[in-house]
Symmetry: D3
Subunit: 162 residues, 6 copies
């Protein structure tokens, strides 16, 4: 019955994100992967592109839905009956930022739990910004992101389309 949200920018999605999604699926009945429509932060991929890539990558995972949201995550959680937010933690700096948000979200909705999963060892150096920086300079990103994301990154940077 329990529904968990896996929110993020996913700009673009990495193997680290997919690992968290897969493990969330092992813990919760239903999973909603939700892309934040963050108008102020300039992203490489549009929200639609990010949702589409995630959708393809999660297509074969039953019980996983991909969506986007605008506004407060606690409101989105209420609308979809979610009882947990799942975040991967790699570093102490992640932890402090996410802890602060978790406490603030708990204040807005005391029924909503934030659950932290430690990022797997092999992914702990991996972030969307590092992937973009490598791709921008023509570096190899296999092992960091799935094939479909590699293609999109090549397309973006071939066009000089930052």
């Amino acid at each position: 019955m329990a529904i968990a949200l896996v929110p993020g920018s996913f700009d673009p999605v990495t193997y680290g994100h997919l690992d968290i999604i897969r493990r969330t699926k092992g813990l919760f009945q239903d999973v909603r992967v939700v892309v934040a429509r963050n108008s102020s932060k300039s992203s490489l991929f549009t929200t639609e592109e990010r949702v589409e890539m995630l959708g393809k990558l999660c297509a074969e995972m039953d019980r996983v839905v991909v969506d986007s949201f605008d506004g407060l995550l606690v409101d989105y959680a209420r609308q979809h009956g979610a009882t947990a937010i799942v975040k991967g933690l790699r570093f102490v700096s992640d932890f402090e930022y996410e802890l602060q948000r978790a406490l603030a979200n708990h204040r807005l909705n005391s029924e909503l739990e934030t659950v932290f999963l430690p990022t797997g060892l092999q992914y702990s150096d991996l972030s969307s910004s590092i992937v973009k920086e490598i791709a921008r300079h023509g570096g190899a990103v296999e092992g960091l992101v799935p094939e479909i994301v590699q293609q999109r990154l090549r397309a973006k940077f071939a066009l000089g389309n930052e």
Copy 2:
């Protein structure tokens, strides 16, 4: 179906621990609160006393079982079909220690997830050692531990029984 373990020393159990147990119950089907029989670390209460106090405090919570374990937590998890370990996080130093253990446990059993819950704001200064230090000097521990634990602390220290 999912069974979660809440392991700890619980020497003694505090309101912070009870908050984590209650929230774990909201996320998982069944909860096993497990007291570590740690022979090397000198504890104030015996394992039996700690199990008994926890048992009384969790008596009215359905789906929560109190137990103790010796040996490796991953072995205990396997024996009881648990798929998750739940730990409360208060501070960065907690986080690093628990992250290291979570990664090591994942290595020993890749099916077993460690899940971190942020400790509630009102409990983040609370630890069993601070409770013991206050009680040892006759300070007031209401608001930190339940009535039954207050009584046991008074009994221990009245007897000079450290």
Copy 3:
């Protein structure tokens, strides 16, 4: 005789800030709450608005003056005979940033002490940015900021005035 500065952006002031101001008043003879005129950082409220809100909220506190400053805080401190800067600390990341600034200020003026106060438990998730994010999406900010700030936030966001 001792005069303490409580500097900050206060964009907008929260209950956490007011708690630090009140406690600084308990430790020092006179308190100057000073709003940084930071031209490069885009703020939601103008310096004048921030000074006015703080002024109203500190009106009933004797020995507390509200002001703004431009330039180096050490120069402002010298002009007003202040011997201490007071900063609230919530997190490790606050601590490192503020420690670095405290050491740099001490280098510029070895008579000026920076004093850190731990933020009260109930405010440790509270920051001006989280308040703005909630208010921007129409979330409830009672319990986070005083009534006058709630009104101003509603007015700002009703006008789409970001």
Copy 4:
């Protein structure tokens, strides 16, 4: 009127401690340097030796009293009318430990503030344990501790008196 406590083990006192005492004196009317009588922790110097060394080193500082305490620091503070506890902070690990204690002390006595001072740059590698380790192996501790402490350390270790 304000009285501040500077508590610690001072086993032995270092130049870093003396810097904190001197700066506390600049911020508060009266200062009580208090040595914790910690029976459980094995110390190199007895409480009496630590009080005596501190007493000599603070003899020429007016408004500074040296004492020892047993029990809870909040009780000692109440007995002596102290309104602040002052602690030096060097590192993140200091910060988290002291933050937890400050919050716990605030819970026991909401009138008592804990105030953190950043340790001066030149003392941030300095701790009593490092001093003892160096002295134990016959290393030079000038620049770390005053002359009187150097003598006592030499006397202790010459006698093999650990």
Copy 5:
């Protein structure tokens, strides 16, 4: 034979940077100080100005070459036969950021080591941004940056040339 890179923004170079360069020279045969041409980040000095200042300051150091680079540092390292990247560490937040980059660079080139040197005590509050902030407001930056950098800072800010 071993060649080490000391990469950075150096906007502008400080005494802290020069200390790291000097110590790297003590550990490695040849040193290449490399200024990152970071088009996206707005810098105070142009890449050319930063290279020129560094060039003058390293002129008398044999075995030290100053250069700039664009693209991925691992590619630059490969082209110049470098086997190590050297970074100074001051704070925990430095450490986590640099650790992540070091792991990512190791993934791209497993022959390339990242080596961390602890920043000297007297420089640990020193950063290019703090230097710029002080200089912008006419504060004194002797003791933080060499004479040639002081002149350039005065020239920049006299011209209102931010």
Copy 6:
């Protein structure tokens, strides 16, 4: 010409330690792996056992010598003409502890550099204490320590020889 020390307890040596030794060998001419004879800390293996295991494991590595030391590491470094101490860093808590020691050692001998290497991703959960805890309860430690160490651990714990 440069000689580096890799000091540690090595109780017992893990694959993480061997990775640091191998990488130190890539950066420095000669490497001395030195086991700390720490009489106060109770170790599982004697200094002689630890030196012997390390000796076997480093036998095929030219330019690597295994030794033990008592006293101050700076004195040992001086006697053997070493100019660098190499330490692996996994976590923030490692970093702060090692940073403090590095600064203290630099104070005792300003010619001696401490160099930090980030522990490889696949070893960052690995510590001698976790290895001992697993082995003590009969858990599998392949993948964590070499065959020879596995044998010794089995022998120790079979004999109940803690």
